[in-house]
């Protein structure tokens, strides 16, 4: 395969994800949240440059013991549960998590052992992708619909609640924040410990 064709395929594989980042960034512009919009915008540009070959190939991610990741996540969860919501300490903790997590995500995950039956695994993964993709798509469309319809008046907001409005009251007390922080960090540890490909093992 020529380098040009390989570059074109890389673009095709990256384009949907760059579009998703740009779309989320656009919603943040509508929300009048410039910082949030800038975060997604910068990420979209970085991935576009990467797909164009303008960024050097990343190194392999260092292996982080799962026990260490869970210990750090536990400290962060306690901090977020006890720190005032929307405060400086919560901002520093979540900001630090973001810097480390995105830096790790940029690097290639460690490889895993080759599959015994790659065809069967492919079929299972395809079915899971259709199922989870369908759930994610419905959730995003209803959330976007609610966000747009609920923007104009308090009555419309009541009729079309976004997930943020439904969860917001529960996050007002430390217990609610602790439950959210644990679930959020557990998902983060899951995302940062997967992606191991057998192809480059």
């Amino acid at each position: 395969m020529t380098e040009q064709r390989a570059r074109g395929r890389a673009w095709l594989r990256s384009a949907p994800w760059i579009f998703i980042l740009a779309a989320i960034g656009t919603v943040q512009v509508i929300r009048a949240q410039p910082f949030d919009a800038a975060v997604f915008g910068v990420a979209a540009v970085a991935l576009a440059l990467d797909a164009a070959g303008a960024v050097p190939a990343g190194a392999r991610r260092p292996s982080v013991p799962i026990s260490a990741a869970i210990a750090v996540a536990g400290v962060v969860a306690v901090t977020l549960a006890l720190a005032p919501r929307h405060g400086l300490l919560a901002g520093l903790a979540v900001g630090a998590v973001g810097v480390v997590a995105v830096a790790l995500a940029w690097l290639r995950p460690p490889p895993r052992a080759a599959d015994d039956d790659p065809a069967a695994r492919h079929r299972r993964v395809r079915r899971a992708a259709i199922g989870w993709g369908g759930v994610a798509l419905v959730l995003c469309l209803v959330e976007l619909w609610s966000f747009l319809l609920g923007r104009f008046t308090a009555e419309a907001k009541e009729l079309h609640p976004a997930i943020s409005e439904l969860l917001d009251p529960a996050l007002g007390d430390p217990f609610g924040r602790a439950v959210f922080a644990v679930a959020w960090l557990a998902l983060g540890v899951l995302l940062l410990t997967r992606g191991r490909s057998a192809r480059d093992a």
Partner: protein
């Protein structure tokens, strides 16, 4: 309409639980979340997108502005 919207959110939650349980039933032939993530996150673009969106959820709910005021009234 509010109940319909909340109902759809809850249906999505139920579907997610069923998908997670279904992955444990071999004859259903559905991959687990970890198998799916290993497939998706092997490439940089989806890995950075999903990790960044996950991070933003924490920022949105714990640090940034969670609920937007309506434009009128």
């Amino acid at each position: 309409m509010r109940d319909v919207t909340i109902g759809i959110y809850l249906l999505c939650l139920v579907a997610a639980v069923l998908l997670a349980i279904g992955a444990r039933v071999p004859r259903w032939g559905i991959g687990t979340v970890t198998e799916l993530l290993d497939g998706i996150l092997a490439e940089r673009a989806p890995r950075v997108t999903l990790v960044l969106f996950w991070w933003w959820l924490g920022w949105h709910f714990l640090v940034g502005q969670t609920v937007d005021a309506p434009l009128a009234g």
